[in-house]
Symmetry: C2
Subunit: 302 residues, 2 copies
């Protein structure tokens, strides 16, 4: 197998996956996927990413030199199992790269499944916005067989090695997302608490006086638009809690974060996507709707 | 009783209490306390605040027009009980102001105890550094009998009314501290997790690239010096969790915050005070020591 894999499969082409696929295509790779049973949105994103649908997993593992798994965390093990079964049936063993936001413990399960099928496994954690959207996407990677991913450095994203131990790249992603998504949900929780205590305006006024940089981040950052990703991030928060507890650090913050995302996933804003979300919604618009969907309210807002 | 109470008792003169006392003295009030059974540090702080020791609670309630309770949260109910007993025994009923960082539910218990002794009760929450140290100390207050506290506005601090409902001032303090101390402990938790996974330097490098404002806050803010207050803040975090759960918001973040403070209270840095803490200690110095005191390490560093 060449160190610069020429055919790369992306499973599944969501917001991040399709942009990675498009970037790889622009750098001369053939990029394929398998859309059987996928949503219309996945089909649209695959088309937007110029990603070729090869129809089924059997053909995919035969034609791919490398498979990138980029999924909601809760699907990571199921997909590794499906791909391992397809590899065994097809006697084809592309390098498998698990790019999901999962705990080192969960990665080691995926690595075991792929390893049993005889294929090389690379642990990866993606940090930053999708290629083409921000200041550069970073793929942190680790594992003893990481060379094929290192060869992709500069093909639309940066690749940074973290040594030969499976789990390190995922732990990096977990600690990073612990900050970003942990902070958003902590802020959302306390603003909902203030709202429910009738103190939202008074608290914002106090923050304007003594926490203006943080207030600015709350009002002009992602807080009013996190419901679009909330359902997917519930599982990621549970994986962070698991990552922390494995080394004796309290996982409670991210249990709370999972609960907040569960609440936000019940709001009407949760049907938005990054392509169509309402940029004009303010924090002051969002918080009362978020708070109205807390578990104990029994209210419905549709 | 005058609306500008001339004699004010401070219980107990810690970091905040003694500075409030000094400010009130500078504004013409007689400021008293009761140091029976208190530590040498309390005596030193009382002296630094020009606060007169009247010896016992009986004399204190007879001589004071107002009692300010400024304590570690876990002591709030015990002190309210002691003062209520002293009021009953002395047939003296100064206005009692609970300034502690406690949940509305806990305040209502204190209000019941003081009310049963026949005295007026004001709920207060202090935000900002102690008088003389920062951009201004704010006393948020609430309750039907708040006039005597409103009369102190400008006497070394700002007094801001939040209506006539006991519990609102405390809820305000809880939501505010949920942000500041919640953020510090979240950041500490994820840095300890990175440390334990051998990824501290890699994570700091990534933050320098993509989260530079937050990294700057972590490196140049309070993180390396929070052990000094950690033992006291465990109880405050539990009160925040209670405040959140009372309105259906997840309390898990601040359960985690309490755990982090419990860990930090076990470090050698926990013996420091705000007067003598080591300003030269960096975040990179502090985190490995914090992480070595996590519950599961079994290590001791003294």
């Amino acid at each position: 197998m060449p160190h610069d894999p020429s055919t790369i499969a992306i499973l599944m082409p969501g917001d991040m996956g399709h942009a990675v696929g498009r970037a790889l295509g622009e750098h001369g790779h053939r990029v394929i996927t398998c859309l059987a049973g996928r949503s219309d949105r996945s089909r649209q994103l695959a088309a937007a990413g110029n990603i070729e649908d090869v129809g089924d997993l059997g053909r995919l593992v035969r034609e791919a030199d490398m498979v990138l798994s980029i999924l909601p965390p809760a699907s990571a093990i199921k997909l590794a199992t499906d791909v391992a079964n397809a590899m065994t049936a097809a006697a084809a063993r592309p390098v498998y790269v698990d790019c999901n936001a999962i705990a080192p413990e969960t990665v080691s399960v995926a690595a075991g499944i792929i390893g049993a099928a005889g294929a090389a496994f690379i642990d990866a954690g993606i940090i930053g916005l999708a290629p083409g959207k921000g200041t550069g996407t970073r793929f942190y990677i680790s594992g003893p067989d990481a060379a094929p991913m290192l060869a992709l450095d500069g093909h639309g994203f940066e690749v940074i090695g973290l040594g030969d131990q499976i789990g390190q790249a995922s732990a990096m992603k977990m600690c990073y997302a612990a900050l970003t998504k942990g902070t958003w949900t902590l802020q959302t929780a306390l603003l909902m608490a203030a709202e429910r205590h009738g103190l939202y305006d008074a608290l914002i006024e106090e923050f304007a006086f003594s926490q203006s940089a943080t207030l600015n981040a709350m009002q002009n950052g992602r807080l009013a638009r996190i419901p679009a990703d909330a359902a997917r991030w519930v599982g990621e928060m549970k994986e962070i809690a698991k990552t922390f507890r494995a080394v004796g650090v309290p996982g409670d913050f991210h249990d709370g974060a999972a609960e907040v995302f569960r609440t936000l996933a019940r709001t009407p804003f949760a049907t938005e996507t990054r392509e169509n979300w309402d940029e004009s919604r303010t924090l002051a618009d969002a918080i009362p709707v978020y708070a109205a969907h807390l578990d104990d309210t029994g209210e419905e807002q549709d």
